[in-house]
Each structure stands twice: as structure tokens, then as C-alpha cells.
């Protein structure tokens, strides 16, 4: 047993010394390998963390959002629909919601306007998200924000509250207003709302309640929370997918590079294998040597790639990706993602990077190691 351990340790020693001999080749391979692991792991961490945030945010979302559609397009819904919906058995609450988007040409930015469901700000006052506060050069309580309403008249709204930074993921571009100001801002017809938020007491009855709503109120479209979750999931998957498509080019070039480096045993390496065999190394010893060399490179690259990706995403909020997958607005939310690691995805990354490289190292070595040891005598 001791002898086996000694033999392994000696071969590992030699593998490391062997790697150090070809410093430039191995360091360039390691750097490229690490870069690919870093980018793919960053993407995995980022998408996983965003999905988690989305699930948390939607946890507080209403069970059903009822919209009205005309000719297949979203239209304003009569606010008194909420009373009719509330009367349906199983519905515990139904309330109209007012929200919309405002384009600010001064900053080339879009804001999300919303009337809070309870205790809205007083007329003439607003609550703003941290992204907007930054855009307005550090706007704080008491700051007057000039906004142009639907009648092209300027409204001066006073900031009375700035949302804290920890809500930035959802509230970065948000402006909360009073119902009156919302109506004036967008010239909304009286008695109409954007949609109706419905809460159902028993989650088992959500689909039944949705059916009853469409039956009683033709022209409405109930959207279930489960559908929203699914949409968010596919949205992030799609965006993640886009990145993967782009990165697949990098991955492919890495595979070609690694294959070339790992499989193309140089004349020197072949000669070395011949010498080792002639001085008493078995084919399995040579394979072990190449295995440990492959493992040392791939495990180092994998470990460092994953560690750097973790720091990039969870400590620096993924600066390399934010423009690509954080959103389309100019108001990029500043937030720190909560570390979320999916062991399954990491395992997939491990098997897609470490195993192919190790195999690519061993196969040519095996081909070279099966030559007769007397080849060294004739070199």
C-alpha cells in the first residue's frame, strides 16, 4: 500500500516538474482555459442569481393580474371591474393598479410610474428609485423634478422619499405618484386603471377563478403568477442562451487550441516517453504521468476560473455582463447579487471542461506509450 502511495507521489512530483519545464506552453494554455471557465461560470452564477431575485420578487406578486384587451392589444380596464372580480367566490382581494412608462428626453431614460396600492404619496409629491436619484445628480428629499405631462405642460413634483439601495433591483427606475398626479401625467380617462391585481385565498382555485373572470368579464385576460414566473425564467434563459451562443465561439476555439496542444505530442515528448519506457516505466506509469499533468492544468484552471467568476459576479456585480443582460434601460440598477450556486450546473461545467481536456491529454500519450521500449535504443 505504502509502495503504491510512494509511486503515485513520485509520479505526481515528476508531473509537476514536467509541467514547469514547458512553462510558456502550459501557462498560455492555463490562462486561456481559465478565461473560458471564468466566463462560463460567471454566466452561470449571474443567471442563477437573477432567477433567484426574480422568484423572490414575484413571490409578493398578485396571484392573478387581470388585463383588458381590445383587438389583442392591452387596453385600460374599467376600475369597477375590481368590484365584480372581488365578488367571485374564492377571491380574497381585487384592486385596480395604475402604472405606466415615461420617457425623459433630457436624460434619454425611461421611468416606471406607479400608484402604490396603499398609502400613496400626497398630490404633488413623489417617491423615486435610487437609479433616478443618481440620474438627477443625487436628488434627495425636497428636490423638485420637472416632468412633462401628456398635455405637454411641465409638472413640478417634489421628492419626499428615495427608495433604499437594497431595493434597487426592483425600484431603480421607479417613480411612485398619487392617483391624481398619475391621471394628470398620462391624461388617463377617469374610472379606468392599467390592470387589476387579484389575490385568491386558496392557491388550488387560482385556475378556476381565472376561468370565472374570463367568463364573467369578456375581453379580459387573466395572467397567473405561475405564468409570470415561467416567463421570467425563459427570459433569463433566453438571455443566458444568447450569451452561451456567443461564448460557444470562444469555447470552440479553446477546444481546438487545447486539442492541438494536448494531442499533438511533440517529438521531444515522444522521445521522452520512449526513454521513460526504456528505463523501466510501464505504460500505465506513463499514462498516470500524463493524467496528473492534465489534472493539474485543468483543475487549476477550473478552480481559479470559478473563484474569479464568483468574485466577478457576487463582489463586483458582473461588470462584464451588465450591459448585455441586465436590461434595456439606461438606468442600470446598482445592486449586489446574493450568492447562489447551482451544484448541478457547476458539475456540468466541470465535466465539460476538465474531463475532455484530461482525455485529450491521455489518448495521445497512450498511443505513444504503447510503442516498444527499444525505440529509445534506436533514437
Amino acid at each position: 500500500m505504502n509502495s503504491r502511495v510512494n509511486s503515485q507521489r513520485n509520479i505526481i512530483d515528476y508531473a509537476i516538474s514536467s509541467l514547469l519545464r514547458r512553462k510558456i506552453k502550459n501557462l498560455s494554455l492555463l490562462a486561456l482555459y481559465m478565461l473560458v471557465v471564468f466566463v462560463v461560470a460567471s454566466l452561470i452564477f449571474f443567471v442563477q442569481a437573477l432567477k433567484r431575485e426574480a422568484r423572490l420578487i414575484l413571490g409578493d406578486a398578485p396571484d392573478i393580474v387581470v388585463q383588458r384587451t381590445i383587438a389583442g392589444r392591452h387596453d385600460l380596464i374599467p376600475a369597477d371591474y375590481s368590484r365584480q372580480i372581488a365578488a367571485i367566490r374564492g377571491v380574497s382581494n381585487a384592486a385596480p393598479r395604475w402604472w405606466g412608462y415615461y420617457y425623459d428626453p433630457n436624460f434619454d431614460a425611461n421611468y416606471t410610474f406607479m400608484v402604490p396600492p396603499a398609502d400613496p404619496p400626497k398630490k404633488g409629491t413623489i417617491w423615486i428609485g435610487a437609479g433616478i436619484a443618481r440620474l438627477l445628480r443625487g436628488a434627495q428629499k425636497g428636490y423638485l423634478v420637472p416632468l412633462r405631462n401628456a398635455a405637454r405642460k411641465t409638472m413640478l413634483l417634489e421628492v419626499v422619499k428615495v427608495f433604499p439601495a437594497d431595493s434597487e433591483l426592483v425600484a431603480s427606475d421607479l417613480i411612485m405618484v398619487s392617483p391624481d398626479d398619475f391621471q394628470t401625467m398620462f391624461n388617463l380617462p377617469k374610472g379606468f386603471a392599467t390592470d387589476v391585481a387579484v389575490t385568491v385565498a386558496n392557491p388550488q382555485e387560482i385556475v378556476t377563478v381565472a376561468g370565472k373572470i374570463t367568463e364573467q368579464l369578456p375581453g379580459t385576460r387573466p395572467i397567473l403568477k405561475s405564468e409570470m414566473l415561467r416567463t421570467y425564467d425563459s427570459l433569463f434563459d433566453w438571455r443566458g442562451g444568447m450569451q452561451v451562443v456567443i461564448l460557444s465561439a470562444a469555447l470552440l476555439s479553446f477546444i481546438i487550441f487545447a486539442w492541438d496542444k494536448a494531442t499533438g505530442l511533440s517529438a521531444d515528448e515522444r522521445r521522452e516517453i520512449g526513454i521513460l519506457k526504456s528505463i523501466g516505466w510501464e505504460t500505465t506509469d506513463v499514462l498516470l504521468l500524463k493524467f496528473w499533468e492534465g489534472i493539474a492544468i485543468s483543475m487549476t484552471a477550473f478552480t481559479w476560473g470559478v473563484i474569479l467568476a464568483y468574485g466577478h459576479v457576487f463582489f463586483f456585480s458582473a461588470p462584464l455582463f451588465e450591459h448585455a443582460i441586465k436590461g434595456w434601460s439606461v438606468l442600470y440598477p446598482r445592486f449586489r447579487l446574493v450568492p447562489t450556486i447551482d451544484p448541478y450546473q457547476l458539475a456540468v461545467l466541470f465535466f465539460l471542461t476538465v474531463l475532455p481536456y484530461t482525455a485529450a491529454t491521455i489518448i495521445p500519450a497512450w498511443l505513444a506509450a504503447t510503442v516498444d521500449p527499444d525505440s529509445a535504443m534506436r533514437s
Binding site: R4, S7, N10, R21, I279, G280
Partner: protein, 242 residues
């Protein structure tokens, strides 16, 4: 003792370019003696060395080793010889590693690593503790007067220093038999004589030495107990059997 009986080695068997490198060789190498295989290039000396040194198997004939502890998988009393002609590669490697030390014509040192590491290489897969064979390697460095070169890269060595490193490597596993293929081919006369002095030391320590050479300094040396003349794969004469 190593006994060869009607040993032949054919390359590219069954093809139009079939070539018989060793042809019906029968020979006995005595323990503790120096045997020289002498002959021109292409006479089959190197092939015969590879067959005796378990690097290749003969196409026909038998090679038996006597007085050498048989590997654990062959249950024989140590006095009885055992046939190595048809052993699987794994077993041949084991015998090669424990019984034979090789000195190659080109020295076959591995570039990029130190003299000390080169010397220790044959011991790595044996399962012996690193500390033990490291100490032995230092002793060998000292024995051959190259201690100061321990950390040097082998590509920076002179011919004589490379030769000594190769000899030290051949001895690291303390083999019973030393096999050298044209060891003086790249050495001048002084270094060749120094090499023969080292061979004299092996002989004094009871090692069996087998050298293939067409250098008169080697085959005319007083150390040679037997000189075997070879040509076209066959033994054409044997001399000086003491």
C-alpha cells in the same frame, strides 16, 4: 547467468521488407563478467541487447535468466532460471526495472530537468520512498564526481558529464546487469578510457556487464572476459573466454 538458445528476431514479419536482425543466436553470459558484442553497424548487436534487456521479445528461441530473483508472479526457487522470452510487457518492465541498468549510445537524458532528477527517474515508479532513492542518487553523484552538477540542466553538460549522468541513472535501482550500447561512440579516447575504468569498478563489485561496441578501446580492453563477434545478425566468433 543469462542463457540464450537459438534466439532470432524478425522485424516486419510476413511483409516484403521482412528483416532478420538476430539470427539463431545461442550464447551464455556469465554472472559478474564483462561481455563485449563486437561488430559493424547493422550486425544485430543493439537488437540483441534489447532482447536480453527485456525491451523486446524474440521472434523465436529462449532467453533464460539464472541467479536473479524471479518476480513475485513466477513461483520458482531463486536458483532455477526463468524464461523471459514470452512474458507480458508488464512483467518484462518489472524485470527491466529491477535487474537491468541501461546506458544508451545517445545517453538519452531528459532535457529540461536537472542531473539529479534524471538520475532518479528510473526509481520513480518503483514505489520506493523518495527520500531513500534521493540519498542514493546523491551518493552516485559523489561516486562519479559530479555532485556540483546536481542542479544543472542536462543540456548544459559536456559529453563526459552526460556519460557519467547516464551511468549514474543506470545504477539508481542497483541492477545486477549493466547493458551499454556503443557507450564510447560520442567520447574521445581519454573519456572512453575513463568509461572503461568505471566498468572495471562494476566488475569489481560483481555486476554483470554487457557492452555492444565497435570501439577498439572497449573490445581490446583487458576487462573484457568474452568478446562476441557478430555480423548479419549471427555470431561469427567468440574470443577471450576466461
Amino acid at each position: 547467468m543469462i542463457e540464450l538458445t537459438h534466439v532470432s528476431k524478425c522485424f516486419t514479419m510476413g511483409k516484403s521488407n521482412q528483416f532478420k536482425a538476430v539470427d539463431d543466436v545461442s550464447l551464455t553470459l556469465r554472472r559478474g563478467k564483462v561481455t563485449i558484442l563486437k561488430g559493424p553497424s547493422g550486425s544485430g548487436k543493439t537488437t540483441l541487447l534489447t532482447l536480453i534487456g527485456c525491451m523486446a521479445r524474440p521472434t523465436s528461441g529462449r532467453i533464460r535468466l539464472y541467479g536473479i530473483p524471479a518476480p513475485g508472479f513466477i513461483e520458482l526457487p531463486p536458483t532455477d532460471g526463468f524464461d523471459i522470452s514470452s512474458l507480458p510487457e508488464r512483467f518484462l518492465t518489472h524485470i527491466r526495472r529491477t535487474t537491468f541498468g541501461f546506458i544508451f549510445q545517445q545517453f538519452n537524458l531528459i532535457r529540461g530537468i536537472s542531473v539529479l532528477e534524471n538520475i532518479m527517474l528510473p526509481a520513480y515508479p518503483t514505489g520506493e520512498s523518495h527520500a531513500v532513492f534521493h540519498k542514493r542518487a546523491l551518493e552516485l553523484l559523489n561516486l562519479f564526481g559530479i555532485t556540483r552538477l546536481a542542479a544543472s540542466q542536462v543540456e548544459l553538460l559536456s559529453g563526459g558529464e552526460s556519460q557519467r549522468t547516464a551511468i549514474a541513472r543506470a545504477l539508481i535501482n542497483n541492477p545486477d546487469v549493466i547493458i551499454a550500447d556503443e557507450p564510447t561512440a560520442h567520447l574521445d579516447s581519454t573519456l572512453s578510457r575513463e568509461f572503461m575504468d568505471i566498468i572495471g569498478g562494476f566488475k569489481a563489485h560483481g555486476k554483470t556487464v554487457l557492452i555492444a561496441s565497435h570501439d577498439p578501446i572497449v573490445y581490446e580492453s583487458a576487462l573484457a572476459d568474452m568478446v562476441v563477434d557478430m555480423r548479419d545478425g549471427r555470431i561469427t566468433g567468440t574470443g577471450r573466454v576466461s
